[in-house]
């Protein structure tokens, strides 16, 4: 930056009449030749070695991320399109004995149904509790110590491993008083594994997501909206029902969709709490209730069972089911994207 003043005075252009004023052109600061490629015009301080290493590392990890993402998506796409056949989606899986592994027969209708049932059930349980918790935390939160306890409670639930939730569910729902939720063996031992029970435990992994995004939506509503409602004579709960909840619909929907994605992708709870049956095994004669009280499988447990780690060991079926699962997850992600893209500030004045 050692530009002599005389040098700059030489190049100043004289403003002419009738033209727009142009800023005088100053000479550019001298940039060492070795830095010219790297620098933008306005950056004068040369890059130190550490800065360059950091920049290179950032580019490297960014490009590595692209490469990993692309390879996973392309690999699953290729394998999926290779092995998925549309007729198999409508067929029931055929349970094979462990000695005879052919891996060619049977579809994956039941796992798809299982995923849909479990996702719906889980989110139906998580939504009311989650929204109520979020509303209470955001609008009431009295007494303060209880609010803080609930807040950290939600955080702990979010951090609890799903496998722990799964065997805790097994422990609770094998008790006699919960016998109506699942299969009861002769002699009164409760099986403790059914769609109901898996759905209840699944709702816990969706709960923190629902609470988080509903709270965020409620807190982004400015105070004057509430004040306007109070000024019109509404009490608090009607304000919540008529003003705040409708305004935070998108936040609730985002949380619910994220939660459904997590439920659809979880394996540990399904493996432990849904029984080990590959097909839907209703318990009792009632159509819907019987299925919910019975056992089954989902896409995740189907993939696990057909991977080399499970009993089935037929990778082609595992790839096909994983592809269907991935498509479901991508669709849910797309829905979340739609919600977040539409979000504008309706309260902006």
């Amino acid at each position: 930056m050692s530009t002599p003043a005389s040098e700059s005075s030489r190049t100043v252009a004289k403003p002419r009449r009738g033209r727009r004023f142009q800023a005088p052109k100053l000479p550019r600061p001298r940039i060492p030749r070795r830095d010219r490629g790297l620098l933008k015009e306005e950056e004068v301080v040369p890059w130190s070695i550490g800065d360059r290493i950091g920049l290179a590392a950032a580019w490297f990890s960014g490009l590595l991320l692209c490469a990993i993402a692309a390879s996973i998506v392309i690999y699953m796409l290729v394998r999926g399109l290779q092995y998925v056949n549309l007729s198999a989606i409508g067929e029931h899986p055929i349970v094979q004995s462990t000695t005879q592994i052919t891996g060619t027969s049977g579809g994956y209708l039941d796992p798809i149904e299982g995923t849909l049932i479990l996702t719906t059930l889980g989110i139906l349980i998580a939504l009311p509790i989650g929204v109520a918790t979020a509303v209470w935390l955001s609008e009431y939160a009295r007494p303060a110590w209880l609010a803080r306890a609930v807040e950290s409670g939600v955080e702990i639930v979010a951090g609890t491993p799903t496998i722990v939730l799964a065997i805790f569910g097994l422990l609770i729902f094998s008790k006699g008083i919960f016998g109506f939720l699942s299969f009861t063996a002769q002699g009164g031992a409760v099986f403790g594994r059914s769609f109901f029970i898996a759905g209840i435990m699944m709702s816990l992994i969706a709960l923190p997501l629902v609470v988080g995004s509903t709270r965020e939506a409620l807190q982004s509503i400015p105070a004057h909206v509430r004040e306007a409602s109070y000024a019109l004579g509404k009490d608090k709960i009607s304000t919540i029902r008529r003003v705040l909840l409708p305004a935070s619909r998108k936040g609730i929907a985002t949380g619910a969709t994220l939660g459904m994605g997590r439920i659809a992708g979880d394996t540990a709870i399904v493996v432990i709490l849904l029984g080990a049956s590959l097909t839907l095994q209703p318990y009792g004669g009632t159509p819907v209730l019987g299925t919910l009280r019975g056992t089954g499988s989902t896409l995740t447990s189907f993939v696990y069972a057909n991977s080399p780690a499970g009993e089935g060991n037929s990778p082609t079926k595992a790839y096909a089911a994983a592809f269907v699962l991935l498509v479901i997850v991508i669709l849910m992600n797309f829905v979340v994207d739609l919600f977040s893209r539409q979000r504008s500030d309706p309260w902006a004045r």
Binding site: P161, I167, V329, I330
Partner: protein, 336 residues
């Protein structure tokens, strides 16, 4: 977090409203009841396993083969007075810590750099693609990562990276098939990094633009401004992201049981390069692998002991993260 005015908490009140508040509060407390129940029931179930083994349960010097101990517990006589409880779980605890720490250390650095790339250096077109892709990767179910791991990466490592000589050298102790804690760390890193990237990107974006402008106007280059101002201001979010990712890594059961070889073995750093391809099995994977044994009483109690260790670690993690965030928040304007 946005400061709330007092008016948000106030508002007109009547009988209906008070009833509604009670109802909502009761629903919110469901979570607390559940956590209390979980802690009480799981610990009550796990207690015999701890009390029979004492400190040997956790001790690195207790010795013994975990898989043999599990078999003995599973085959213990039906008479409650003759139940076998001997369990020296150190290899499992050690594997859990090794895999989780490995993935978190690599993943945090990778996630931070990637987030900086996305926020600052990526060309706009790439940026527009990368953000949805990161969210997608964060949502991919772990069983799919496990499937790719067990069908692609494990055979590759087993066939191409491990020499026959290396396999023979440890043949008496363990088999090196490629399923190993190293592969587990690799896939776990890929799995948890997108979660961290999403949070850190949001936090870096939330740093007030004036702070960056201030540093740039003082003549600092783009990297330095990002590194010294934005990243520092986003520290609470980085900690939050790392805590969330650690919780996921700690509890990851299915994927790790698929790719880590499922052998109750403590990988030994003294083995040299082989160390990285030695099999292991973390606590969560042990529970999934042995879930069929839950009908045998002492075996069930041992599995609940594993679960209670995981539960305590998760609770400590969440409190630790909260404490660090509170400490850091004094220096910054927290975006979360």
């Amino acid at each position: 977090m946005r400061r709330r005015s007092g008016l948000q908490k106030a508002g007109p009140r009547n009988r209906t409203d008070q009833r509604a508040e009670l109802l909502l509060g009761a629903l919110a407390c469901v979570v607390l009841v559940l956590i209390a129940g979980m802690i009480v029931f799981v610990f009550a179930k796990a207690w015999p396993s701890f009390s029979h083994n004492g400190f040997d349960w956790f001790s690195p010097w207790a010795g013994g083969n975990v898989d043999e101990e599990l078999t003995n517990i599973f085959e213990s006589p039906a008479n409650p007075s003759q139940f076998v409880y001997t369990m020296h779980a150190w290899p499992l605890i050690y594997s859990t810590a090794l895999i989780t720490l490995g993935a978190i250390v690599i993943g945090t650095g990778f996630a931070l750099l990637s987030a900086m790339f996305i926020v600052e250096f990526a060309p706009p077109a790439l940026q527009k693609v990368l953000e949805p892709v990161v969210r997608l990767l964060a949502a991919v179910p772990s069983v799919i990562y496990g499937l790719i791991g067990i069908l692609v990466i494990v055979p590759f490592v087993g066939n191409h990276l491990i020499t026959q000589g290396a396999k023979d050298s440890v043949a008496g102790v363990i088999g090196l098939s490629g399923a190993s804690w190293g592969v587990g760390v690799l896939i776990l890193t890929v799995m948890i990094t997108p979660i961290m990237i999403a949070i850190v990107v949001d936090a870096l974006r939330a740093v007030p633009i004036g702070w960056r402008e201030g540093s740039v106007s003082l003549g600092v280059n783009r990297w330095r401004a990002l590194w010294t101002v934005s990243v520092r201001a986003a520290r609470p979010a980085i900690v939050a992201a790392a805590v969330l990712a650690t919780a996921r890594a700690l509890g990851e059961a299915i994927m790790l049981s698929m790719v880590t070889g499922s052998v109750g073995f403590a990988p030994n750093p003294l083995d040299g390069v082989i160390f990285f391809v030695e099999p292991a099995r973390p606590l969560a994977a042990t529970i999934v692998d042995n879930a069929e044994g839950l009908s045998v009483a002492p075996f069930e109690q041992t599995l609940y002991a594993f679960a209670s260790v995981l539960l305590v670690s998760a609770a400590f993690l969440s409190f630790g993260g909260w404490y660090i965030r509170r400490r850091l928040r004094r220096y910054t304007l927290s975006p979360i």
